[in-house]
Subunit: 244 residues, 2 copies
């Protein structure tokens, strides 16, 4: 499924068998009620972002999902030496490549903060193979970025620096919902999320590191990958991560 | 100005002298056009979040502003040992205390990611003393959190752990606007932002660290504070930070 192509919301169709038009004339009456393509995944709508609050009447739900963190290596250091325009063009390109790769594999681009991107797979679009999809999205980010980076180095007049992406992935049960009451914010939290974030910190430029849980669930995609032990901040015991 | 009190949008009034009702019957026709209180600051509206795109016809603008990052120390480690419910309650409380403190000082709660919060001062509500306001908001977060933490330790059955907040602040010219084209995202970027984030990483629990620029602009509020030299990730030279 390529991004920006779904005519009806995949989430609403899958979970409620209700066809919600996302684009074209048929979508007009829905837009009047604030139902429009989600910014986090344009193949789903703003209703299913919050489906659990309306349908399940809960602020938070526990779901089985896969979390992906991606981060641009060398961003802070580069920001000091190149003009603001070049940095802004760099970030535009990075967000876009990540978004397209994530949406192609039915993921939700949940958050961006500076050079960091966080995505969730298996919500609101459900896929039993969400761990595999996250791994494929990560590889897609890497290959798209390698192409983009070459263009950027030329177009923005950057020197040929270390501008690789580091990615971390983890899978399991997490808490998804709205956090905060004065400032409500839709996101995923929990140990599974934190471990994905720390795996990303451990990954080098152009590298993808996944946990044992992802390694096991993403077979045969990751067959032959070997574990390395990492000391991660905030974890008492070393964590085994696999290169994907 | 306390949160949730403004009857008209402060940003629209200040910059265009247009009264945009935020609450009550008068706000109804505006809401039909999607104009409602901003999630990032309920005393401003969804129009002035993007004022520069509509009024200035630019996707990004360069502004003089102050950036604050706050982060919960010990969050990753705690997530491994306490139930998911307790962590979710903890994060609810943290987001709420940060939001209220930031809004009280006219800041914009721009981003949350896990236990990290990012705020911008001097947009869309303009204040010449934005550096001082950010420092006051930081102190307010610290004092609110000290009270909240005591309650949490009891209510959620947490052990008396290190649950302090670390805060970093920087001020200067940054790029504010929408980044990414497929996934549009309103945020601030640039060297000023990165330095604030690194100052936050350097801060210990219950500590506020500000750059020399903030120290100079927030006088006499910070009189007597002494500089300490820090090695920050991604920076070639040591950076002097002041405790606030």
């Amino acid at each position: 499924m390529s991004a920006n192509q779904a005519k009806i919301c995949i989430g609403c169709w899958q979970q409620m068998h209700v066809p919600v038009p996302l684009r074209g004339v048929l979508s007009m009456p829905f837009r009047a009620f604030g139902i429009r393509p989600s910014r986090m995944n344009p193949n789903t709508c703003t209703v299913c972002e919050l489906m659990f609050t309306r349908v399940m009447r809960a602020r938070k739900i526990t779901i089985d999902a896969t979390v992906l963190f991606a981060d641009l290596r060398g961003y802070t250091s580069l920001s000091q030496s190149v003009p603001a325009d070049a940095i802004s063009g760099l970030l535009d390109a990075f967000y876009d490549q990540c978004a397209d790769a994530i949406w192609e594999h039915d993921g939700l681009l949940n958050k961006t903060l500076g050079d960091a991107v966080m995505a969730v797979f298996n919500f609101p679009i459900k896929n039993a193979d969400h761990a595999i999809r996250a791994v494929r999205a990560a590889r897609e980010i890497q290959s798209r970025w390698r192409v983009e980076r070459e263009g950027l180095v030329e177009r923005l007049g950057l020197a040929d620096r270390d501008l690789g992406v580091g990615i971390g992935i983890n899978t399991g049960e997490l808490s998804f919902g709205e956090f905060g009451r004065s400032h409500r914010d839709l996101t995923a939290i929990g140990n599974v999320v934190n471990t994905a974030s720390r795996a990303q910190s451990a990954a080098g430029a152009d590298q993808i590191l996944v946990t044992r849980e992802v390694y096991q669930r993403a077979q045969p995609e990751l067959a032959g990958s070997e574990a390395t032990s990492y000391e991660l901040k905030g974890f008492n015991a070393p964590v085994e991560l696999y290169a994907a």
